[in-house]
């Protein structure tokens, strides 16, 4: 099938109004924020998709997928467009981007049973706003909250800034509806718990569009008590102290909604008005008053236990002010994009990993040492550091952040700068038994390590792909390494 015939068939399936072939829209759809700089400079090396299509119902999604499955057309599911790891990047000439634009309805807010059901194209902010009016919250607040949509949030196993209290999206999803390439529509019902075999929600959660298209999601909702929010901030002598305090709080069973420890370098960019060249540790406690009181006590005790590494306490007003400006809006994304057209710089990159408490400090030191000594462009680095921002009883994440002066051609930026740094971070993480991707998903640029990430369990992942997407039409290159896509990676 060629592109003209594909467009004719798709228009016959959906109608002209639901098929977008505008060249600018297709250029935009050919890559996500992973290649943001090359995209802004208009030097992308990947092909544009044939069209972006906007189904209005689950049945239309099913018809589209069946058609693509039958004719071997690559499909990129899209909802929100805030992907950062190449998950939305196109590597095939014949590709349809199926965008959840019209799947935009909040179907039900069930206050008594504390759950809300939305279609995949509902922005998280829209549901959050609707819940706040009633005194509830989703508890989910990724940095992309003003822009991200539920289909994308669930498909990428996203996490929010209050995850230490509310968990990641996988802890919030009660049930969902999704469509497989053969057109099979599956609904996973909404129950408090089940033991009916393996938890099949997880086939859809985090599939990154490589197995199915998520059309509807039901998530838990929580009572919202903003009047009880309490904030703590400290300067610490090193990152290890911050991590020790985080651990102490977590292992004693407390669940602050925000619990973060920053390296000096990373603190400098986030807390320029109070960091004093030191590491920063901060907490936020939220929830009902009794829980907040107990959590605050737990934080204060943990800080007291490690007082030798605490340099000073920071005004909680400063932390609250920082907290109120956490998210980036569409305007922020657009501003960065416009800036990259003119300047040889951007807002930097991140690579997020996780490991147990014992491993994280070693991992951080190993990565920083290797980048400083092995990365050939170390002299161009303008920022290299990291922070822990999502903690668990057995460990935490490390969000490596880095930026650099871009001295190469825009089309070479990833392989000159980002890829060598990312490789060091992934290699060190896997060497120490951590996970190379804490919450951004694998996307298309960490797929060469997917097998290593999962070890012997990769067998299970591979079988899922073979079973649900035997013709390989779902998001070519996402999660699973493809030799044909290597030319875009190296």
């Amino acid at each position: 099938m060629d592109k003209d015939l594909l467009l004719k068939e798709v228009r016959a399936l959906l109608g002209d109004a639901q098929v977008n072939t505008d060249p600018e829209a297709l250029y935009d759809a050919s890559a996500d924020r992973y290649k943001k700089y090359a995209k802004a400079r208009r030097v992308l090396d990947v092909p544009p998709p044939a069209a972006i299509v906007y189904p209005r119902s689950t049945e239309e999604v099913a018809r589209l997928l069946s058609f693509c499955n039958e004719h071997g057309i690559n499909v990129i599911p899209r909802a929100g467009k805030t992907s950062t790891e190449g998950g939305l990047e196109n590597w095939k000439e014949l590709t349809l981007v199926i965008d959840a634009l019209h799947l935009d309805k909040i179907l039900k807010i069930d206050e008594y049973n504390m759950q809300a059901t939305v279609q995949a194209g509902v922005p998280l902010q829209k549901l959050e706003d609707a819940l706040r009016e009633r005194g509830y919250t989703t508890g989910h607040s990724p940095q992309s909250k003003p822009v991200a949509k539920f289909g994308g949030l669930v498909a990428t196993r996203s996490i929010g800034q209050f995850s230490t209290l509310y968990g990641g999206i996988e802890d919030m999803v009660v049930g969902l509806e999704c469509v497989f390439p053969n057109g099979q529509i599956c609904r996973i019902k909404n129950v408090p718990r089940r033991s009916g075999g393996p938890d099949i929600r997880h086939i859809a959660i985090g599939n990154e569009g490589s197995l199915c298209y998520i059309t509807e999601v039901t998530v838990k909702i929580y009572r919202y008590f903003p009047e009880n929010n309490r904030f703590y901030g400290y300067l610490t002598k090193d990152l290890a102290t911050g991590i020790q305090v985080l651990r102490e709080v977590m292992v004693n069973g407390y669940r602050p909604s925000v619990a973060r420890a920053y390296s000096e370098e990373d603190a400098r960019q986030h807390f320029y008005h109070f960091h004093k060249g030191k590491c920063v540790l901060l907490f936020m406690a939220e929830g009902n008053r009794h829980i907040v009181d107990a959590t605050c006590k737990g934080i204060e005790e943990a800080v007291a236990k490690f007082k030798d590494g605490i340099l000073e306490q920071v005004s909680s007003e400063l932390i609250e002010n920082w907290f109120n400006h956490l998210n980036w809006s569409q305007q922020d994304i657009d501003d960065e994009f416009e800036g990259m057209k003119e300047k040889d710089s951007h807002d930097g990159f991140t690579t997020e990993v996780s490991a147990d408490w014992e491993t994280i400090p070693k991992l951080y030191d190993n990565v920083i040492r290797r980048i400083r000594s092995e990365f050939p462009r170390a002299h161009d680095l303008t920022l290299l550091g990291g922070h822990s921002s999502h903690s668990y009883i057995n460990g935490t994440n490390m969000y490596f952040v880095y930026n650099y002066e871009i001295n190469c051609a825009p089309e070479d930026e990833m392989r000159v700068y980002h890829h060598p740094i990312q490789r060091i971070i992934v290699e060190e993480t896997l060497k120490l038994g951590g996970s190379m991707c804490h919450h951004h998903g694998i996307g298309k640029y960490r797929n060469e390590w997917t097998q290593q990430e999962h070890g012997s369990a990769y067998f299970m992942l591979k079988k899922l792909k073979e079973a649900f997407d035997p013709n390989g039409i779902m998001n070519f290159g996402a999660i699973f390494y493809q030799e044909e896509g290597a030319k875009f990676q190296k």
């Binding site: 007003e317 002010n321 002299h379 051609a409 070479d412």
Partner: protein
Amino acid sequence: MRIVCLAKLVPDVDNFQYDHERSALIRENVRLLLNPADATAVAIALKLKADSRAGSVHTVTLGPRSAMPHLEDLLRRGVDRATLISDPAYAGSDTHVTSHILAAFLSRCGFDVIFAGTHTLDGGTGHVGPQVAEILGIPHMAGISHMDPESLSEGRAQVRVESEEASYTFALQLPAVLGFAYAPEPKLPFIRYEALKRDLSGRVEVIDNQALGLAPEQVGVLGSLTRVRKIHVKGFRSPNTRFVRPDDEGIERVYRFLREKGFVR
């Protein structure tokens, strides 16, 4: 035409750290960057070369060994040859000594014209260009915002210098030292991925005082005519932070503040 560019690596002044107890800059792990006005000078030289108006571009840098990756980058951008003048004996040299060291090398390296940036980010005295010209006995002009490339083929440099009041045009007989003001254009050419693997051996050299043969009392702190008695770091006072809510009272307070400061009338 052989162009020699004086290219200084300066500390990233936005991110330097200061040891208040020892009253000294912490130089370990300080990021270096090519002085912006010098980058303009090199970019103009490379543009002349690309337009076949110059035969070769040679950069000369006085500085620490840690400047080497930046000099290699200049070669990757199209510079033909890079020289790093580096010797522990030169530590503490003021602009007078720096000019003599550079002139000692330049007097024997061969050039038709010398390009430089007028000011540097770190010192900003603007001394070195004129002093080098004085020692070499050739003309100098600082603050150049434009140069007529055609004029070079006539053995002179016709340049424009802007001041707040007027724009002046001068012609200098070559050889001369031309000091350029920083300008966003032309930019240095990008480094291409393939150039990163290019063999640069033989195109970058390190020269020390043994090669230049300057007497110990002529260089470093001993040779300097000026002394740094004390460095003061301009401290930024922490502003009084006041939080206001996005209500009428908060808006009124912000408005009054902006009026007081003259930002709104």
